[in-house]
């Protein structure tokens, strides 16, 4: 086979391919630096007038060594959307949210900001109550936050010793993972308009009853399917839980890096499926930061049978990537004895009835770029009924 960029990025396709951590880290961190550069280029002067020290903190984040944990968060996506939409109000609140995330993850500094809209933030797992004025003093090992709103201010003291501990506020549930903590957001943190339509169904105060099943599902993956555990915990950092009686609903939200939502259920297999599905979307998004999945030469709209809607090729790839990964999850679950065989087999059959149509669209589609091929071809081999055809093709290469 000709060595190409394609082979470098197949780790974004599925857990079975093995994603090189240094590649993941490089892409995330270079993307973050590029977004921050663009963000400060457009809003740096404005932020300096509205917030003291905040633009300096963001500038330092561009050049300082960092990890994906430091920068892979919804606030980074919000900053980029503010750039795209030329929205200074969103820029300021996004910068403040990112400043808090950076501060909680090793990029220290003092700053204060006056916000156009009162906003509730997070510092690690600690809630920064709704405020229109926020000041931060952060040495790296201790921090003091002052959140002001309607003439009143609330002080939060934080000490870092292996983890951030706070006085003066409350925390949200957090599921500790090997790679990154998974924060479970309560409804009151979903104040942005981007959560309209979802907010009212989100659980207001996620407690043990709704969080424990997620912990158990992740533990189940860790024990039985560690590659899938890594697949989820590498890229998912925040979650909120939706009440959706009698249905399984999960989703990712435009630009919200590492954030997803799932149904409230105690069904661990269903939770694992939703996490794997939505994590797949996050990998797709991250890889697409390097370029398009297709070259635009295929102008057709194709039926996505899972949502019964016509979609362009790139979105067919998006759907195929997620559902093929779910199919593989059920297949490997049977192989290792995770979950009931009958149920997994039924799920595989149900998914494959729809997946086959998508396979036909993406398999050998000349419009796919090397990145697009890297995403789908490993899954085609693993899931396709046409394995023999692929094998012959590979044997000839």
């Amino acid at each position: 086979m000709t060595l190409s960029a394609q082979s470098a990025f197949t780790g974004f396709s599925c857990p079975q391919e093995g994603l090189a951590e240094n590649l993941f880290e490089t892409i995330v961190c270079e993307y973050a630096s590029a977004v921050l550069d663009a963000f400060l280029g457009q809003f740096g002067a404005m932020i300096r007038t509205q917030a003291t020290g905040l633009s300096d903190l963001l500038e330092s984040a561009v050049s300082k060594p960092k990890s994906s944990n430091t920068v892979w968060c919804p606030a980074l996506g919000d900053c980029f959307q503010a750039v795209q939409r030329h929205d200074p109000n969103a820029a300021l609140s996004s910068a403040a949210a990112l400043g808090l995330h950076l501060g909680a993850n090793g990029i220290s500094g003092n700053w204060e900001a006056k916000l156009a809209e009162p906003t509730t933030f997070l510092w690690n797992k600690w809630i920064v109550p709704e405020c229109s004025h926020l000041s931060v003093e952060n040495s790296g090992t201790s921090a003091s936050l002052t959140a002001g709103f309607n003439g009143e201010s609330k002080k939060i003291g934080l000490i870092y010793s292996a983890a951030w501990n706070a006085q003066g506020t409350e925390s949200i549930p957090v599921i500790e993972g090997a790679r990154r903590s998974l924060f479970v957001l309560p409804q009151k943190l979903l104040t942005s308009p981007k959560f309209d339509g979802l907010r009212t169904s989100a659980i207001s105060e996620p407690g043990e009853k709704s969080v424990s099943p997620i912990e158990e599902a992740l533990e189940g993956l860790k024990k039985n399917l560690p590659a899938y555990y890594d697949w989820v915990t590498r890229i998912v950092g925040q979650i909120f839980i939706m009440e959706a009686p009698d249905r399984l609903v999960s989703g990712s939200i435009q630009g919200q890096l590492g954030l997803l939502y799932i149904s409230n259920t105690s069904d661990q297999l269903a939770i694992a499926e939703m996490l794997i599905h939505e994590a797949s979307h996050q990998y797709y998004y991250l890889l697409s930061r390097l370029g398009a999945m297709d070259d635009g030469s295929d102008h057709k709209l194709y039926l996505n049978p899972f949502i019964n809607a016509l979609r362009p090729l790139a979105r067919i790839v998006l759907g195929y990537h997620a559902f093929a990964n779910v199919w593989m999850f059920y297949k490997t679950s049977i192989d290792v004895g995770f979950g009931q065989v009958d149920r997994c087999a039924h799920q595989m059959d149900t998914i494959m009835k729809r997946l086959e149509n998508m396979q036909d669209i993406v398999d050998g589609n000349a419009a796919l770029t090397p990145i697009g091929k890297a995403l789908v071809e490993p899954l085609l081999v693993l899931t396709s009924c046409k394995n023999s055809k692929n094998m012959e093709s590979l044997a000839a290469s």
């Binding site: 086979m1 060595l3 190409s4 960029a5 082979s7 470098a8 780790g11 079975q16 391919e17 093995g18 090189a20 240094n22 590649l23 490089t26 270079e30 630096s33 590029a34 980029f80 795209q84 981007k194 339509g197 039985n224 560690p226 590659a227 009686p245 009698d246 399984l248 609903v249 999960s250 989703g251 990712s252 939200i253 435009q254 269903a270 979307h281 797709y284 998004y285 697409s288 390097l290 370029g291 398009a292 070259d295 635009g296 102008h299 899972f306 949502i307 790139a314 998006l318 490997t332 192989d335 290792v336 799920q347 770029t369 090397p370 490993p378 081999v381 394995n387 692929n390 094998m391 590979l394």
Partner: protein, 108 residues
């Protein structure tokens, strides 16, 4: 389809070329490339082992220059900034800014 959806296809060559992401010949031996044939065979015969964490041979990431990644990212960001209809940013979106999969599995 809205023509804007295809804007990304027109300037995908403004960044690093694909060749920038290809390891040099001298680097190939060091990176333990997994071939598609290896993948297919392993995929057919060794799923249980894979699920337990025994993954394929190391990808080629060590041979990819961060500068090439950066160049690709900058090109993509430039394109996204110039497009009011960012197809990649919207890639997670099926309807109204969210992805909602109404599944075929009943909790009952």
């Amino acid at each position: 389809m809205d023509e804007k959806d295809n804007i990304h296809t027109q300037d995908s060559q403004t960044g690093a070329s694909e060749i920038d992401l290809v390891p040099k010949e001298s680097e190939k031996a060091e990176v333990g490339l997994s071939s598609r044939r290896d993948f297919a065979i392993a995929g057919v015969t060794g799923l249980a082992a894979l699920a337990a964490g025994a993954l394929f041979s190391a990808p080629v990431a060590n041979a990819i220059e961060p500068a090439a990644i950066k160049s690709k990212i900058l090109a993509q960001i430039k394109k996204d900034m110039e497009s009011s209809n960012d197809p990649m940013l919207n890639a997670l979106t099926f309807d109204r800014g969210t992805v909602v999969h109404n599944r075929f599995v009943s909790l009952a």
